[in-house]
């Protein structure tokens, strides 16, 4: 390679602030990657929201033809896939990236370039998945793509292949990030911060990484088997050749249920950080929260068939999975009670993050209870695959994760961008969102129990669903308005001065001990921790207040160089799966070229100057 600017000795920490596209393309700073994750995820969240609005408009009237059946089926599939894989997971990843190093007192994640690689693979995976719209072949078999509708015979087009390959690419991104964060949390904690002194958000993220590490390989294999069925004529899920479509459901939900815990545990972590700060008292029952999280993760692998009670697996299997599902409701209940215990006897400060956190508890309780209602198979036979289930998972995913992530956004906005989001607009956003959310999803409980199945692009008038569907559509428009208010809040704030304090909320964790936004090296001196809520301890020692921290020069701090090889390797990874998708037309050549690019990117990454100690130790190599 031509010697580029990167070849000079490793960048001193004190050089000028890097801006411009190139600095973003080659960043390895966990904070910038966090902001990239956040911006991309929010864009996909809005995309998913628009898909939801179109779905709601189509369902506003019986026998409506606002959109064609195929478009509706593509929209509901992409709404599900986008919201789960391209919105909630990366929004959680934004918080992982930005906050975990700050909260555990580290200067960066364990493998900064692997972190950049994860982001770029996620971005390319998301674009690849959504590119299917350009070819009019967006996935249309639902976010869990049950076999054998996904077989070549019943889904001849590339729709399912886009979904299959897209999820494989996103799987690579999630696995790479999971290894990175697992090692970061285990290995890079500040001196004195034992595992039982870590902030609860870091604990929940830690469990989420373990779930990711164990669940994603299962879906990767399931998708590989589906790929073999569609491209190479095997019959894993095709009954004609001896295969069984039910096997796909098993494989998918062995991944599927840990996946829904991957979606909710980061939200648990955010709420466990916000509530103590705005109740001005420590989290209630720290150990109970940790063990219930671990219990949820371990048992999460033993409940998957509660998604399959209607397949007639037989009484023994139904009983086992029903009881294990009920068992997992207990630690979830313990968490809710511990949050309420945190608020009890507290001095509650109702700032915007607190609004969303408390609403999270209220909505998640409803979602949890409607979940327990279909943990019992006889009841689930009526509820499964109806709008009752749609109501349940929106109460836990929207009422749960999105409310909590919004609380996190308002709470950590000053730390990430140095500006406080406007409180008044925040409250308007909250009320619109709470009202819109309940108007949209509460009637779904009733319309579901009264006979409206899931994923139907329309319904006849005589079944009586019209009135409730109209309320739901009105509610969804209100939700759209709510996020418009949030956007206005963001834009107005970004024009304002960067005047946020380092610790605007009297926080307890380490990220509030450094300036907002923190310098590239985070901590001038790595802090020593000797208890939970380190900042509150520090403040008690200094009479309740701490001086505004100064950024410091960061001299002598070794910072990793920016590098573009993660981006090149990410393009290689995505190209491999594009090559597979196009293999019927291009033959093996697409894959061969992609693998070559991948290897080129990987080797250049591994032996990059200034990084790898394989080079004879020049100045930059230490």
């Amino acid at each position: 390679m031509a010697t580029t600017a990167l070849d000079q000795p490793h960048a001193h920490a004190a050089h000028a602030e890097k801006t411009g596209l190139w600095s973003w393309l080659t960043t390895v700073d966990h904070k910038r990657i966090g902001i990239l994750y956040g911006a991309t995820a929010f864009f996909f969240f809005l995309l998913g929201g628009i898909e939801a609005l179109i779905i709601r408009i189509q369902l506003a009237r019986p026998d409506n033809n606002f959109i064609s059946p195929e478009t509706y089926n593509q929209l509901f599939t992409m709404h599900g896939t986008t919201m789960i894989f391209l919105a909630i997971m990366p929004l959680s990843s934004m918080l992982f990236n930005y906050l975990i190093p700050l909260m555990i007192g580290a200067r960066d994640v364990a493998f900064p370039r692997l972190n950049a690689f994860s982001y770029w693979v996620f971005l390319l995976g998301g674009l690849f998945l959504n590119a299917s719209f350009l070819f009019g072949a967006a996935p249309d078999t639902g976010w869990y793509g049950y076999a054998n509708l996904t077989s070549r015979q019943f889904s001849a087009g590339p729709n399912v292949d886009f979904w299959n390959m897209g999820l494989q690419v996103l799987g690579v991104a999630s696995l790479a990030a999971a290894v990175n964060f697992f090692v970061t949390i285990v290995n890079m904690r500040a001196p004195g911060m034992t595992m039982m002194r870590m902030p609860m958000f870091v604990w929940m993220s830690f469990i989420t990484q373990i779930l990711l590490l164990l669940a994603f390989p299962v879906i990767a294999v399931a998708l590989i088997l589906l790929m073999f069925d569609r491209f190479f004529g095997t019959h894993f899920f095709i009954p004609a050749g001896g295969g069984d479509p039910l096997l796909w459901q098993h494989f998918f939900w062995v991944f599927g249920h840990p996946e829904v815990y991957i979606l909710i545990l980061p939200a648990f972590g955010v709420v466990s950080e916000v509530l103590p700060v705005f109740s001005r008292k420590p989290l209630f029952g720290y150990a109970a929260m940790v063990f219930s999280g671990v219990f949820i993760a371990f048992l999460g692998f033993g409940v998957w068939s509660h998604h399959m009670f209607t397949t007639g697996m037989g009484p023994i299997a139904d009983t086992f999975f029903s009881l294990s599902t009920m068992l997992i409701a207990i630690p979830t209940g313990v968490k809710i009670f511990n949050w309420m215990g945190t608020m009890w006897f507290g001095s509650l400060q109702f700032r915007t993050p607190m609004y969303f956190a408390v609403a999270f508890i209220a909505m998640f309780i409803i979602g949890g209870l409607s979940g327990v209602m279909h943990a019992s198979p006889p009841a689930d036979l009526q509820q499964n695959d109806t709008y009752f289930i749609v109501a349940h998972f929106h109460y836990v995913l929207f009422g749960g994760s999105i409310f909590a992530l919004t609380a996190g956004a308002y709470y950590w906005w000053p730390k990430m961008f140095g500006r406080m989001l406007d409180e008044r607009l925040g409250k308007v956003h909250f009320w619109l969102m709470l009202l819109g959310f309940n108007l949209t999803f509460f009637p779904m409980h009733f319309v579901g129990l009264n006979g409206m199945p899931r994923r139907t692009y329309t319904y006849p008038a005589e079944l009586g669903f019209t009135a409730l569907n109209q309320i739901e559509t009105a509610g969804s428009l209100l939700l759209g308005l709510a996020f418009l208010v949030f956007l206005i809040n963001v834009v107005r704030t970004s024009r304002g001065p960067r005047n946020a304090l380092a610790d605007p909320w009297n926080g307890a964790t380490l990220e509030w001990a450094i300036p907002s936004p923190p310098p590239e090296w985070n901590f001038e001196r790595v802090p020593v921790v000797d208890g939970r809520d380190p900042l509150w301890e520090e403040k008690r020692k200094n009479g309740g207040r701490l001086p505004e921290p100064v950024a410091g020069t960061g001299a002598g701090i070794h910072l990793p160089n920016p590098s573009y090889w993660p981006l090149v390797t990410a393009v290689g990874v995505t190209a491999v799966f594009i090559g597979i998708l196009e293999s019927p037309r291009w033959g093996p050549w697409g894959i061969i070229v992609a693998v070559a690019l991948l290897l080129f990117g990987l080797y250049s990454w591994l032996f990059e100057k200034g990084y790898s100690e394989f080079r004879t130790p020049s100045h930059g190599g230490h």
Partner: protein
């Protein structure tokens, strides 16, 4: 949920309350023919009983826990300048209490659940077997003892247990007659079972509940529960619809005796088909019969209820004239709808396997007359 000022609370409460009122009014089950909350069979009552149990426990927990949350919101509200509250870290006894109580509640739910699981999985002996075959986007029903095939409208004798042997002809569906039983997934290559004993008569809708392709939304069916005598009459009536006698013989123009206006109408006795006089629209009927051959309808549809060939793409039309709905149980079976459905199926149900055959308006009227005669 917790606005600062009382005025704000009243203002914010108003829209919420009236929306709630509308929602509550909108959700009383009587207004929904396909509701799962008004069981009409023993199977459905098991599920309904278990669901009630879990619902009341859930409602109780909801009221207590959300109430505690609301209480704590107002009781412990503070201002920044208030003194710091006591820094409680936890309390093991409370932790144990709020682990045990949910465990006990769940145990209380688990008992009826497990009992319900085994009850719903134990198929009573001596039930009448009906074969249900799911196809992409319609339902086929076969009565093996009587060797009768019909589609989209299942006749069942009230007061007698029916056992459904469910298979699929293509992809995974889910057979869901909410008034009589929960849903059972329909697998190609793996037979699943469902059973119930209806305890009242009437026409009740049901729908496919597992996404199965473009027209999953319009893959509905009806279950017509009739008295045992009417059921025997219906079987007799359908048995008369054997293989077509050579065209020279009198067309098996069965009378329109079974016309049923709306849900719950009684089924009159069937008349012997051969004795039926030529129906009033003889000319149209004959034209329709000829068109049924020339337009190729025979290729996918069969008109004989007894011994119909298996594996046809289209539904059996032996008694299509008397069905309450057409196009798989959702389009009301009026003459105008039947004609439109024959003339341009792709615009009525896009993506359905029945192509537009370029049928003119007159031809459609003749075909409609011919099919209407098949009661």
């Amino acid at each position: 949920m917790h606005p600062r000022t009382t005025a704000a609370r009243r203002r914010a409460g108003a829209p919420f309350l009236c929306a709630l009122a509308v929602a509550l009014a909108g959700c009383s089950p009587e207004r929904y023919p396909q509701t799962a909350l008004l069981p009409l069979s023993d199977f459905a009552r098991i599920g309904d009983h278990v669901q009630d149990q879990t619902f009341y426990w859930a409602l109780g927990v909801f009221v207590l826990v959300e109430g505690a949350l609301l209480y704590s919101i107002f009781r412990f509200r503070g201002r920044p300048e208030d003194p710091e509250p006591s820094q409680i870290h936890g309390n093991t006894t409370i932790e144990i209490i709020w682990t045990l109580i949910p465990a006990l509640i769940l145990a209380a739910i688990a008992v009826p659940t497990v009992k319900g699981i085994f009850e719903t999985n134990a198929i009573p002996k001596g039930a009448m077997v009906i074969e249900v075959i799911g196809h992409q986007w319609w339902w086929e029903f076969r009565y093996p003892e009587a060797n009768i095939t019909t589609a989209n409208e299942m006749f069942i004798p009230a007061g007698r247990t029916v056992e459904l042997k469910i298979n699929s002809g293509d992809v995974v569906h889910s057979f869901w007659p909410p008034r009589f039983a929960g849903k059972r997934d329909v697998f190609p290559g793996r037979e699943t079972r469902l059973w119930w004993k209806a305890d009242s008569t009437g026409l009740y809708p049901g729908q496919c509940a597992e996404y199965c392709g473009i027209q999953h939304a319009r893959m509905a069916f009806h279950v017509r529960s009739v008295t045992p005598q009417d059921f025997e009459a219906w079987i007799g009536h359908m048995k008369a619809k054997g293989p077509p006698k050579p065209p020279a013989a009198a067309a098996p123009a069965a009378g329109g005796s079974l016309r049923t206006a709306s849900a719950g109408a009684k089924v009159q006795g069937a008349r012997d088909s051969a004795a039926a006089g030529a129906p009033a629209q003889g000319a149209e009927y004959a034209a329709g019969e000829k068109l049924f051959m020339t337009k190729g309808c025979m290729g996918c549809h069969s008109l004989q209820a007894v011994g119909a060939p298996k594996g046809l793409i289209g539904p059996n039309l032996a008694n299509v004239g008397s069905r309450s709905h057409i196009a798989a149980g959702w389009l009301p079976n009026t003459d105008e709808n039947l004609e439109r459905w024959i003339r341009e199926p792709q615009s009525v149900k896009k993506g359905v396997l029945m192509p537009n055959l370029g049928v003119t308006v007159e031809e459609a009227r003749a075909l409609r007359a011919y099919l209407r005669a098949h009661q």
